[in-house]
């Protein structure tokens, strides 16, 4: 019922709902956003991944209108909105700490925007009550309408914060680490729920997160923010398989990365020459990356096949993570090298601590940045 009525009510038929062009923002001379360019598609779930301090919150606050950008353009549904006050932008914001109104009940919190907005407030209490009832059903808060928001759980607060924004029918919702305050179990459950809720409303969600698994699991499109710039914008599969730079690969937390230089047919790394053969990717800094799960661990005496790269390392420890086991090795230059072995592929082997092993991967599995 919702999925039909929402786009109609919102009344927007633009393909790219939000466009950022060279957006700059500095705090007392220190740049937080250094030229952000992005186009967010309509009706999709977008995650924004970036390490702490990369400017994620700043970007959301600039889009929402709580901060003025120093330069650049923000186009929302084709209109420039830099300079437009937050409440006239039609963009909903879900705060990291929820920011619920502590003196109001769940239902009053949700009704706040409808009743109090300056533009076109809903004065008919029956209309408000009906909308609040619908949205409470949508986010799964039925039965808690009269509860004080100080007396509900973290997950329920999260839903109130979301419902409070959604009920005003924004054309886009910004979520700043919405799952950050929840425990791991609830976080996984809320991921699915957030996606379902978004699909029913049909609006674009821009979800900020510092967790690569969350970003990859949730986003139809994943934007990677690095030092105030968009380092890559791609779907989860592309991002995971073909990160655009060594830095992006580093955030994804699933690549061993060597720095060095290319010479002829090999990559000169601190641990020796690594034969080339795989994909090469243009990027500022040369680097060689191999995914944790593409590496095989062999006894030291085993030699490599013709299309393989082989290095030696000593075993440190391994750690189970559900369906996979992660083994840690130290290379000759002291760096840690990680290998992920899926238990469906092989029974867990036991390795001897401090013993040396051969680590082998196929040439074409490596990603080389030039």
């Amino acid at each position: 019922m919702r999925d039909k009525s929402w786009p109609e009510l919102v009344g927007i038929q633009v393909k790219s709902v939000l466009q950022l062009k060279n957006v700059h923002k500095a705090f007392s001379g220190v740049p937080a956003l250094a030229g952000v360019d992005a186009a967010l598609p309509e009706n999709s779930y977008i995650s924004l991944l970036g390490p702490s301090g990369s400017g994620k919150t700043t970007l959301l606050r600039v889009i929402a209108g709580f901060e003025q950008p120093d330069g650049g353009e923000i186009l929302f549904a084709g209109q420039r909105i830099d300079g437009v006050p937050p409440h006239e932008r039609g963009i909903g914001f879900v705060f990291q700490n929820f920011a619920l109104f502590p003196h109001l009940s769940v239902a009053e919190n949700i009704a706040f925007g409808l009743e109090n907005r300056a533009v076109d407030p809903v004065t008919d209490t029956r209309v408000v009550a009906a909308k609040v009832r619908d949205i409470i059903g949508l986010v799964g808060l039925s039965g808690l309408e009269g509860r004080a928001v100080t007396q509900i759980s973290g997950g329920q607060k999260q839903r109130v914060a979301l419902a409070r924004t959604l009920v005003t029918e924004p054309s886009m919702v910004l979520l700043d680490e919405p799952l950050g305050a929840l425990d791991a179990n609830l976080r996984t459950r809320m991921r699915g729920e957030l996606r379902t809720i978004r699909e029913r409303c049909g609006v674009t969600f821009l979800h900020v997160t510092g967790s690569e698994t969350e970003a990859l699991a949730m986003g139809d499109t994943v934007l990677v923010l690095d030092r105030g710039r968009i380092a890559q914008s791609a779907d989860a599969g592309t991002l995971y398989g073909r990160p655009a730079s060594a830095d992006v690969a580093r955030f994804l937390n699933c690549y061993n990365i060597f720095s060095g230089a290319i010479s002829d047919d090999a990559f000169e790394s601190p641990v020796g020459r690594l034969a080339l053969g795989g994909a090469q990717q243009k990027s500022g800094e040369p680097a060689y990356a191999i995914r944790y799960d593409r590496v095989a661990i062999r006894p030291l005496h085993a030699s490599a096949a013709g299309d393989e790269v082989r290095i030696e390392a000593s075993f440190v420890a391994s750690e189970y993570s559900g369906a996979a086991i992660n083994s840690f090795f130290t290379l000759d230059d002291g760096r840690v090298f990680e290998v992920e072995t899926h238990l469906s592929h092989a029974a867990p082997e036991t390795f001897e601590e401090k013993a040396r092993y051969a680590l082998v991967w196929k040439r074409e599995d490596a990603l080389v940045f030039v």
Binding site: F66, G92, F95, N97, A99, L100, H103, N116, A118, R164
Partner: protein
């Protein structure tokens, strides 16, 4: 076997003494405070109630119970007038401290984002207390007097041709003086409550489309109410018991219940003083109780 025995025993052993010792310790901690209050607050008040029923003659007072002082108090225009003046001045000062104090608190507690600066500003509010009461009150005289600064300035710029006489030695001067002295007791608690409002709550309201005045009425004001009530209690209790400001700034024209008590005690009319004292205490109690009704402080603080 031993494992079972110990794991069964330990919780009982640890739980029992702690629950048994709890009331003892509570009583011990409360005893000094309770004793102090009984000795120096409850007992004197009961004594005052008792004395108000004693028989007062011109030169001495006898512990023969009578209602005479009470009848005199409630049939005398002077005393009832003083009661009414007290209530009127209290209400006006309460309103004016709120009117002056709330915007100041709003500025200090909400608009000044820097915590150090807002603390510094609060300290600034306390500066009047760095001088003695007497000096402060005396300083108002050359300000408000017939040839005082305000009249001079107003005459110079031609707003008035005659000096405004009601500025000093009138109810107005008492109200101005009291507002100035007690305003900080209103600003403090309100600024404290405003400072506790999470800035993102206000941003959330903004994002949901509310204008500043809407946000003020629906979010800021309700969240600062406990501060208003605490401030109002401070100001009320102090203003209701006032006598010094009115004595110094009204030229004895304004008589508050406090002034009545001072004069009666001065002329050794203990029974009358006690009646006025009881009336004042009941009034304060009623005011505080009514203010506490407004907001459930236990829940809000």
């Amino acid at each position: 076997m031993t494992m079972v025995a110990t794991s069964d025993d330990t919780p009982v052993e640890t739980a029992a003494p702690s629950t048994r010792r709890q009331p003892d310790r509570t009583a011990l901690l409360l005893a000094p405070g309770v004793l102090w209050m009984l000795l120096f607050l409850v007992a004197p008040i009961l004594m005052m109630v008792y004395v108000s029923f004693w028989t007062q003659t011109t030169f001495k007072i006898e512990p023969t119970l009578t209602l005479k002082s009470w009848v005199t108090f409630f049939s005398s225009d002077t005393y009832l007038g003083a009661l009414w003046t007290t209530i009127r001045i209290w209400l006006i000062v309460l309103a004016s401290t709120l009117l002056v104090g709330y915007p100041a608190a709003l500025f200090v507690g909400l608009f000044v984002k820097n915590k150090t600066l807002s603390t510094a500003l609060l300290v600034l509010c306390v500066i009047p207390f760095w001088t003695s009461f007497l000096i402060r009150v005396l300083a108002w005289r050359p300000m408000l007097g017939k040839e005082g600064a305000i009249n001079m300035i107003l005459m110079k710029i031609g707003v008035i041709t005659q000096p405004i006489e009601v500025l000093l030695f009138s109810e107005l001067s008492v109200i101005i003086g009291m507002t100035q002295i007690y305003c900080v007791f209103m600003v403090g608690p309100i600024a404290f409550m405003l400072g506790r409002i999470d800035p993102s709550v206000i941003e959330a309201a903004q994002d949901l489309g509310a204008s500043f005045w809407r946000i003020f009425r629906t979010i800021i004001l309700p969240l600062s109410m406990p501060g208003v009530v605490v401030g109002a209690i401070f100001v009320s209790v102090m203003v209701l018991g006032e006598f010094a400001t009115s004595a110094a700034l009204s030229g004895r024209k304004v008589n508050l219940l406090g002034n009545i008590i001072v004069t009666q005690v001065g002329s050794l009319k203990w029974a009358f003083a006690a009646v006025a004292g009881v009336v004042l205490t009941v009034l304060m109690g009623a005011v505080v109780a009514a203010l506490l009704r407004v907001v459930d402080l236990k829940k809000e603080l």
